[in-house]
Amino acid sequence: MSNLVIEGVSKNYGSTRALNNVNVTFEAEKIYGLLGRNGAGKTTLLNIINNRIFADMGEITLGGAKAPENEEVQKKFYYTSEQMLFPKEMKVDKAIKWTAEFYPAFDTDYALHLASLFELPLKKKINSLSTGYKTIMKNVLALSVNTPYVFLDEPVLGLDANHREQFYRLLIEKYSNNPATYVISTHLIEEVANIIEEVVIIKKGEIIKQDSKENLLSEGYAVSGVASMVDSYMKGKTVIGVDSLGGLKSAYILGSPDHELEMGLEISSLDLQKLFIQLTNS
């Protein structure tokens, strides 16, 4: 399966630049976290990739073939977003049936199995489902569709803790047994941190980081202790952020920690959510 390459994509809404010269590549069979704050541009990017809206500039290609308006490419993508694109009057089982019609690799038995796991009522109309269950229905489809690229926009929005956990476990199992590229777009960083392999951070319409999670987190470390000790340690180093609580302080620093560490200073690894917050605070 080829890579999905996004080059120079920009999108304006009136005078607002929603996306500005976005360059990102999604490789085959990896789980990506597309991380960004509310309004950063995650959904706009996904909408463009999946032929819902058009970019003002730039190219999106899969193995060289253009993605917009191209069914050969779009049939390799599946996208679930906050927008409910199924007719509201349609029943859940019909939504499953029609998705299977349009996507030949769709596993209907698996979908029905997931529906019963989540207690998703098959005979109910979509508009009579709660927000959480609308999301669950979309997730059931996304996990059963078996396309090489699956895009999930906030896949746990409205889900209770049990369902969230269930979803993550099913996603991991599915990915392990049938590898594909999953792009999870979310602002719930902590929850997905262990699941994603690759990180793409988008801030105010621009990609500010694109790397493997491992590389990103090894770029730096956190040092904590008494504020005065931390302050002196910080001198001459690239500090990307600090947290203070009374006399204690934590500093987030790029690079490798000093070999010799004063007693009272503790080193810990960067946490993806903390790194994200530090990078995306204005």
């Binding site: 058009f54 069914e71 694109l85």
Partner: protein, 246 residues
């Protein structure tokens, strides 16, 4: 595209079936009730194809948005969606037209009498003297063209509506009926009274183009098909860059 057509059929067959039954039912009811009532009243169930035209319009207008959203969700291109819409308009028009002609003919046979007539719209508009088979072909073609026009008109409106923003949608939803049923008559009234020569010319042109002047339904059919083609082209351009909004 076949799958899109399959889907469109699955979402509209109930409306079609209901209409089919109701249409025949009303025709039958009219005929039967006339035969039971006394007196010399004369009823006309003429030009009932208008109802089929309205059905056509309503189905296309109401399904367009949902169909397009579902198609995009399932990886189809706007070009496919457009082609499927045209195909179903074409096929739908032909089938509905056939059904209408059959019902009119059957009703005429079964329920027709000196007291009630079932005539096709074509015969109402054009005064032609043809054989039964000739009539049937004429009526069929004219009705098909009429349905095509209503379907295309529905598609243009629906496509424009889908593409429009908040205010555009209000403008279309309110503006089109007002323009058709209020604006146009008023405008005609003004033209007729203020510029009778102009309205004379206009009416003469209309009569020529619809074939009423020459009593030729084929000219009218051609005009309608051309109108449908123009609207199809407009729809294509509206649809091409339509974005799915929230």
């Amino acid at each position: 595209m076949k799958k899109l057509l399959k889907y469109q059929l699955s979402t509209s067959w109930v409306s079609l079936a209901v209409f089919a039954v109701v249409y025949f039912g009303i025709m039958a009811f009219a005929g039967i009730s006339v035969s039971f009532s006394g007196g010399d009243s004369y009823s006309q169930m003429n030009g009932t194809e208008m109802a089929v035209g309205i059905l056509c319009f309503v189905i296309f207008v109401s399904n367009y948005g949902d169909n397009m959203r579902l198609a995009i969700q399932n990886g189809r291109s706007r070009k496919s969606i457009y082609t499927a819409a045209l195909a179903s308009a074409g096929l739908g028009s032909m089938m509905l037209s056939l059904y209408a002609q059959i019902i009119i003919f059957a009703s005429s046979l079964l329920f027709g009498s000196e007291r009630i007539s079932y005539i096709s719209m074509t015969e109402v508009i054009y005064d032609t003297n043809r054989s039964m088979v000739g009539h049937f072909i004429e009526n069929y073609i004219f009705t098909t063209a009429l349905l095509l026009v209503t379907a295309m008109f529905a598609l243009v409106l629906a496509a424009a509506f889908a593409r429009a923003g908040k205010y555009g949608r209000v403008a279309i939803a309110a503006g089109v009926p007002i323009a058709l049923f209020v604006g146009f008559p008023i405008l005609s009234g003004i033209v007729v009274s203020k510029a009778p020569a102009l309205s004379e010319m206009y009416i003469r042109l209309l009569a020529k183009v619809t074939g009423v002047e020459s009593g030729n339904p084929y000219i009218g059919s051609l005009t309608m098909i051309i109108a449908a083609a123009v609207m199809a082209l407009i729809t294509y351009f509206i649809n091409r860059r339509a974005e799915l909004k929230g």
